[in-house]
Point group: C2
Chain length 182, copies 2
DNA sequence: AAAATACATGTCAAATGTTACATGTAAAAA
DNA sequence: TTTTTACATGTAACATTTGACATGTATTTT
């Protein structure tokens, strides 16, 4: 079973919700380590339904709008817990187009390389700021409540990741500038 | 055109080689930021050939083994350089199954979470060591020769990335242990 | 009252990537 | 001399993900 299905089970294990709600979660709370579009979410829900891991009830919003509110089943909970407690070998290194460009940058003007490095530094600084803003909503750090504590840990991870990316780019920029002088 | 095709053009821009050679590069020098299997490389070479970005000559190894040695064309060089000098917006955050597990770890025993964190720390420390070993082959740091300098920059990036992952995991472990005492 | 945005659910085609299938030669080690 | 490893090239089936197509309701803003 694919990871996305476990991500969905994990969300439903916290709370029953619709495909639309799940999609929103993938764009917000899960955004820093897993994303999915609604075009992926709905078919996966169907597949989970066939497996008996989730079930749904139809609710009416207003007078006509139908909502399918999905709930995890005991079977689903078992499958989720089994995944959650398994130590999987780490996945292959994530692909990074910019690193590829940098790797081949011996074929371009040093000035151009610097321009590229500065552009990407700016982009990652922006991303870092966005993540830091999310962190501000915690009133105590680290939070005491268990699920908030988990949120905090992964958010710290996202901050580490972006800080590290930025500091690497800064190091590259310094090395390129020293090189220019020599 | 997909990024993989530019990666191939980039390699061929440095030197003519076979699909087999390219596949080896994806498993070694490019491994820390881009990978591809031979089952992807051969069809992409075919596609690049149709676009007129590469051409090949058949060589015989020994008495019968046929090799297709691919060379980049001027058109291919132009396309590559255009990609190389374009500042693309940064890609969506890479997916990370372990972060997903950690995010949902409020549903498991704190002891289990610690076990998972320690397992992943060990895995990433191993990966870090492997990358550091690669770095040892540079005799001057940073290297003076241009293409080696680029290799060095991306390798520093890989080291930063893994160091940052490890330090995050260490921080998580500390926070979890403090939590256990309270 | 109209327009814009959010809510809500789906499908389809295309791109990307992995694993397995399929075949054969050349060189090195046992 | 046999076996194993490296060299060499492809295809096919499957899984994952994205972007576009398709439709309609409810709420909020102008």
């Amino acid at each position: 079973m694919g990871t996305l299905q476990y991500a969905i089970l994990g969300m439903l294990n916290r709370d029953s919700m619709t495909g639309y709600d799940l999609t929103r979660e993938f764009q917000t709370s899960l955004f820093d380590f897993w994303t999915a579009k609604h075009s992926q979410v709905y078919p996966e829900l169907k597949s989970l339904l066939e497996k008996g891991y989730v079930e749904y009830e139809t609710e009416i919003s207003g007078t006509a709008l139908e909502k399918k509110v999905y709930t995890i089943t005991q079977q689903g909970r078992d499958a989720f817990q089994n995944w959650e407690e398994t130590a999987y070998p780490i996945k292959p290194i994530p692909k990074d187009e910019f690193r590829l460009q940098l790797f081949f940058s011996d074929a371009m003007e040093p000035e151009m390389r610097l321009k590229q490095l500065e552009y990407h530094l700016q982009q990652h600084r922006q991303r870092l700021e966005q993540i830091r803003k999310k962190q501000e909503k915690f009133d105590t750090i680290p939070p005491k409540e268990e699920s908030q504590f988990c949120d905090y840990l992964v958010m710290q991870g996202a901050i580490h990741r972006e800080e590290s990316y930025c500091s690497w780019l800064e190091e590259c920029i310094n090395l390129c500038q020293q090189r220019k002088i020599l």
